[in-house]
Amino acid sequence: MQRRFHPLVLIVPVIAAALLGRLLPTWTLSLATVAASNALVALGIVILARTGNVSFGQGLFFAAGGYGVALVANASGLTDAVAQMLIGGIASGLLGLLIGPLIARYSGIFFGMLTLALSMVFYGALLKSSALGGSDGFNVGRPTLFGMVFADPREADFMLYAVAVATTGLAGIAAAILFRSEFGLVSLAVRENNLRVEYLGLSANRVIAVNFAIAATFAGASGAFALMAQRHIDPQFAYWTTSGEFVFIAVLAGYQSVAAVYVASLALELVRSFSNLYLPNTWQLVLGIFLLAVILFLPRGIGSLWAGSARKSAEPAAATPAADGGGVP
C-alpha cells in the first residue's frame, strides 16, 4: 500500500493522446482507434482476471453492445458517437449484471468455458436471426458528434479516434482507481483464496459478479466503437476468434498495470499490421512467435516490466493454497 500519485492526474495525458491524432498520419488513425477499442475490452478482461477468472467469451458483450447500438441507431436515427458508446456500454453492462451472479458460482476453466459457450450461443442466435440480418449483418449511418457532421473522411477518422482514445483513457483511469480501492484489494484476495474471503464475512461471488459487469460494460462500449468504425455489424462480433483476440491482448498485458493493456493492444495492432504488410502469407506465424516470446520472457505480461518488481509473486503457492496440504480448512 505504498503512496502513489492520484490516477485523476492521468486526464492530462489522455487529453494529450486524443489531441495527438491531429499530428498522426491518416493511416495510423484507424489503427489506433481499433487498438484503443480493443484495449477497452481487454481492460475489462484484466479487471475480471484480478479475481482469478478469465472470460473467453467477451465477444458476447462486444456484440451485444454493437447490436444494441445498431438497432437503436437504425430505429431512431441516433448517430452521436458519445451517445452510441454510452448505449453500447449500458446495454452490455445490464446483460453482465444479469449473467454475472449466475456465472460467478463457477471458477477456473469452468468459468472460462461457460463464458465461451454463452458467446457462441449468442453467435448462433445472431446467425439464424433474419431480423438482425443473419450472417450478413446490417449497416448503420456515419457517426456524428454533438450535432457536428464529418463529411471529410480524415476528420471523421480523427473524431472517432479522439472519442475512442478519450473513452478508453477515462476507463483506464477508472480502472486504476478501482485497482487501488478497497474493492480492488478484495478482488485480488478472491483471486488467491476465495474461501478465506468468505470466512472473513465477504461475498466472493458478489465481488466476481461486479467485476464481471464492469468488464461487460467496457466490452459493450468497445462494440459500439467497432460498429462506428466499420459502420457495419455482423455475427463475427460474437465469434470465439474475436473473444480470443481480446484474451490475447490481456495475456500480453498481464493483470498488474492498466497502462500495459494499451501498450499490449497497440503492440498487437502494430505487429499484425506490419507482419500482414511484409509477410502477407505468414503473419499469423509472426503473431504467434510474438506471443510465445512474451509468455517466455514476461510470463506475468508486459506490465510486469514496470509494475511487477515490487510484487514478485509466489505464484504457485497463490494459485494452490492446498499445495502444502493446507487447503481450507
Binding site: 500500500m1 480501492s181 474471503v197
Partner: protein, 249 residues
C-alpha cells in the same frame, strides 16, 4: 454462565467414518476451551460444523441462540464466529497489512468502496494496530510469501480477530512453531486476542500448551466427547490417557 455456542446431538458421517456422534457441547462466554484428541477424533469436524463449512447430518448448533447449522461460512462469520487455520490461509501475494485490510473490510457492515483507496480512512492504521498487537508492525509492508511460517500463523490469527468476534476458534495455533517459541507465541496470541475475543476455543495437540492456557478441556474420541472439565481432571482421566494423551506425549 451464558452459553455462547451450544451444540445439541450433532451427527456427521463421512461414509463409514463417524466424525460427530451425538455431540453436545456448550461453550460459555469468557471461557478458554481447548479441544484435544488424536487425529480423526472429530475436533476439526466440530470447528467446521461451528463455522458453516460443514452441515450436520442431524442435530443443532447455535450461536447466542441463533441456529447456525445450515448457514454459510460468510453468514456465520457475520454472526460472530471467526477462525484461524492449522495451515494459515492467507493472501500470499499481498502484504501483511493488505491481508489485514481485507479482514477489516469484511468486518465492516457497509459495502466495499469502489473508489476509496484501500488504505484510506484510517484503515491502514487500524490494520497496523492489529499487526502491532502481535508484534508484527515491522512486517506490515512485506508480502506474505516472504514471511516465516510462525509469522504467517500470527497474521492468520490477527485476521480472524479483525471482526472482533464473539467466539474465536483457533486451529492448532502453535503447530509449526518451534518448541522454544511455542509459549512466547501463545502468550502473544492470548494477550493480543484478550481485548476483543473473550471466548476462545483452540484445537491443540501440545498438552503443555493446553494445561497452561485452557481453563476447560474437552477431549474427543471417535466423534464423541470422552471427558470435559478442568485441565487437571481431564488430562488425568484414564480414558483421556488411553485414547488421547497416551498417543500424543
Amino acid at each position: 454462565m451464558t452459553a455462547v455456542l451450544s451444540a445439541r446431538k450433532l451427527n456427521k458421517r463421512f461414509g463409514a467414518v463417524v466424525a460427530a456422534d451425538d455431540l453436545s457441547l456448550d461453550i460459555a462466554a469468557g471461557q478458554k476451551v481447548s479441544l484435544i484428541g488424536a487425529n480423526g477424533a472429530g475436533k476439526t469436524t466440530f470447528v467446521n460444523l461451528a463455522t458453516g463449512y460443514l452441515k450436520p447430518d442431524s442435530g443443532s448448533i447455535a450461536l447466542d441462540g441463533t441456529d447456525i447449522g445450515r448457514r454459510s461460512p460468510r453468514s456465520v462469520a457475520r454472526l460472530g464466529i471467526s477462525r484461524s487455520f492449522q495451515i494459515p490461509q492467507l493472501f500470499v501475494d499481498l502484504t501483511a497489512v493488505e491481508n489485514l485490510a481485507v479482514a477489516i473490510a469484511g468486518a465492516r457492515s457497509e459495502a466495499l468502496s469502489l473508489r476509496a483507496p484501500a488504505e484510506a480512512g484510517g484503515r491502514r492504521e487500524q490494520a497496523v494496530e492489529f499487526l502491532d498487537r502481535f508484534g508484527l508492525a515491522g512486517q506490515a509492508d512485506r508480502p506474505i510469501f516472504e514471511l516465516a511460517g510462525g509469522v504467517r500463523k500470527l497474521v492468520d490469527i490477527a485476521m480472524a480477530l479483525a471482526r472482533r468476534p464473539k467466539l474465536l476458534l483457533l486451529d492448532e495455533p502453535t503447530s509449526g512453531v518451534s518448541a522454544e517459541e511455542k509459549f512466547a507465541t501463545m502468550d502473544r496470541v492470548i494477550h493480543a486476542v484478550a481485548p476483543d475475543a473473550a471466548t476462545i476455543v483452540f484445537v491443540e495437540h501440545d498438552m503443555e500448551i493446553v494445561s497452561r492456557y485452557a481453563d476447560r478441556v474437552v477431549a474427543f474420541y471417535s466423534g464423541r466427547i470422552i471427558a470435559d472439565g478442568a485441565p487437571g481432571s481431564v488430562l488425568g482421566d484414564p480414558d483421556v490417557r488411553r485414547y488421547v494423551t497416551g498417543g500424543l506425549r
